[in-house]
């Protein structure tokens, strides 16, 4: 028998050689030192290749329950949703910007309450496609986001409530960034999409609303309802600038937080940043995929206790509670928030998976 080829040796090592061939091979190996040496080489090669492949495997996470799979034959869950959220957010920013660029045109009592109830996305889409159409439509989107809070504060007409809600939102834009799309747009150019950034940041609203004309440096569309209690605690400044925050090492993050930073264990951590202030806030940036980066904002739970307790009191109103709770949660002793250019649903889903980074 001539020497054995490498394919046969690999099949043998893989345990896939039919038994007749295997017996013949083993007989040959017993008599042929050359082939025994080849076998050792191929075994080393095989093991090496297996190790290499093994070093490029995903972090294994348990499979979701099978019955869940049966319930949701989901076609590509968030690609679609994200595209949708994008379009909606930009359209919202556009509509708002258009509305805000001339506050004197703010709607009079002629607006009907019916517009208030228009669904957010419908309004947003229209705002995108018919930017010069009626203001009522453009206004409808933020109004619904804000309506509940406005209800509780202002026993005025629907229209008046709408205006107040918008103003409050404007103020909060100056004080604290908001979740959603932030379009950095001087008022005169507010209807240009160009400056829209993908940074999604979160907002805390303040009940204080100024009477000064609406002059926006940032048009902020929030995905979160107003909290009248939050006024008690000024939100950390400059969340908008989180991409300019200093990059720190992981050990620095650990000492700032007093514990391991948290994130999504399956994702690649791109960088960690810290707040330029003294509030101990740390931002972990992770890549969801090649083109999407999310930020996981975290700080020791005690840091902003005033806000937290005030917010909890407020959150007893259950409808608001659900929404607000799901954009922030506690992991160990950290209060964790999540932002990114994804839909709120996707962000919630990711937030649920946040854990101390290994």
């Amino acid at each position: 028998m001539s020497h054995v080829d490498e394919g046969t040796l690999h099949a043998y090592l893989d345990g896939e050689l039919p038994s007749a061939e295997r017996a013949a091979l083993e007989a040959h190996l017993a008599a042929c030192a050359t082939c025994r040496a080849s076998l050792d080489e191929e075994r080393a090669l095989l093991e090496r290749a297996t190790t290499l492949l093994g070093s490029a495997r995903p972090v294994e996470r348990p499979a979701p329950p099978f019955d869940q799979l049966q319930r949701t034959p989901k076609p590509s869950p968030w690609r679609v949703r994200r595209a949708y959220a994008w379009a909606a957010s930009i359209a919202l920013a556009l509509g708002l910007g258009y509305y805000l660029r001339n506050p004197r045109l703010a709607p009079g009592p002629a607006a009907t309450p019916a517009t208030v109830d228009q669904p957010v996305v419908v309004a947003a889409d229209r705002a995108a496609s018919e930017r010069v159409s009626t203001r009522e439509e453009k206004r409808a989107a933020p109004v619904r986001l804000r309506q509940r809070a406005a209800d509780s504060l202002m026993p005025a007409s629907a229209d008046e409530r709408a205006r107040v809600a918008l103003q409050r939102q404007t103020d909060s834009a100056r004080q604290a960034p908001a979740i959603g799309v932030v379009a950095s747009a001087p008022s005169a150019q507010a209807d240009s999409v160009a400056p829209a950034t993908t940074e999604a940041l979160r907002a805390r609203d303040s009940t204080a609303y100024a009477r000064e004309p609406l002059r926006l440096e940032e048009v902020v569309v929030t995905g979160r309802a107003a909290t009248n209690a939050a006024a008690a605690a000024p939100a950390p400044q400059n969340r908008l600038a989180a991409t300019a925050w200093p990059i720190i090492s992981r050990s620095a993050a650990r000492s700032l937080l007093g514990t391991d930073p948290v994130g999504l264990p399956g994702l690649t951590t791109r960088r960690i940043r810290r707040s330029p202030g003294t509030d101990g806030t740390v931002v972990v940036e992770q890549a969801v995929d090649s083109s999407t980066v999310i930020q996981i904002i975290q700080r020791p739970a005690g840091t902003n206790a005033l806000y937290d307790s005030a917010a909890k009191g407020y959150l007893n109103r259950s409808a608001e509670r659900e929404r607000a709770d799901r954009l922030a949660r506690f992991v160990g002793r950290l209060r964790v928030e999540i932002t990114g250019p994804l839909s709120v649903d996707s962000l919630n889903r990711l937030l649920e998976q946040v854990a101390p980074l290994p």
Binding site: H10, L45, S55, F66, R250, R271
Partner: protein
Amino acid sequence: MPDDIAEVYRNTYPALVRFLYRKVWDAERAEDLAQEAFARALVHRPENARGWLFVVAANMARDEARRAAREKRHLILLKSEPDAVPGTLEEDIDTDAQRTRVRAALEQLTPRDREALLLWDAGMSYDEIAAQTGLARGAIGTTLARARRRLVEAYDAGREGGQHVARG
């Protein structure tokens, strides 16, 4: 026979995720695609669910790659961001660099060699690989031998050529 698929799901899901991961290089996406493949299997009830799943998964990954190619410009923009210098987690950098090298090495293989290797690594038998790739069963050993050798060689060449030197 949903019970059968449930069984296949338990046994095959991690392997399918791994298989997909080496094609899309995104853990979350690989999981999404794997789940979608199983969801489709529930609708189609294929006879050989396991083989069917890998065929469907390979097709989905191919579509995904086409989509990724379309978004390549996006990716380049993102990559041009300055990387955090010392700072970022060293172990992550090591893992990432290693993964990148293996990925680059895998991409040096011919599609057929790579497919055979990934299928074997996902736990498929020679018979299954033959059915999936259209290769003769007798050629699988040779194909795998060549794939493994090329993988190791390409990896070593990449490591020598690269600037990074593997640690410890």
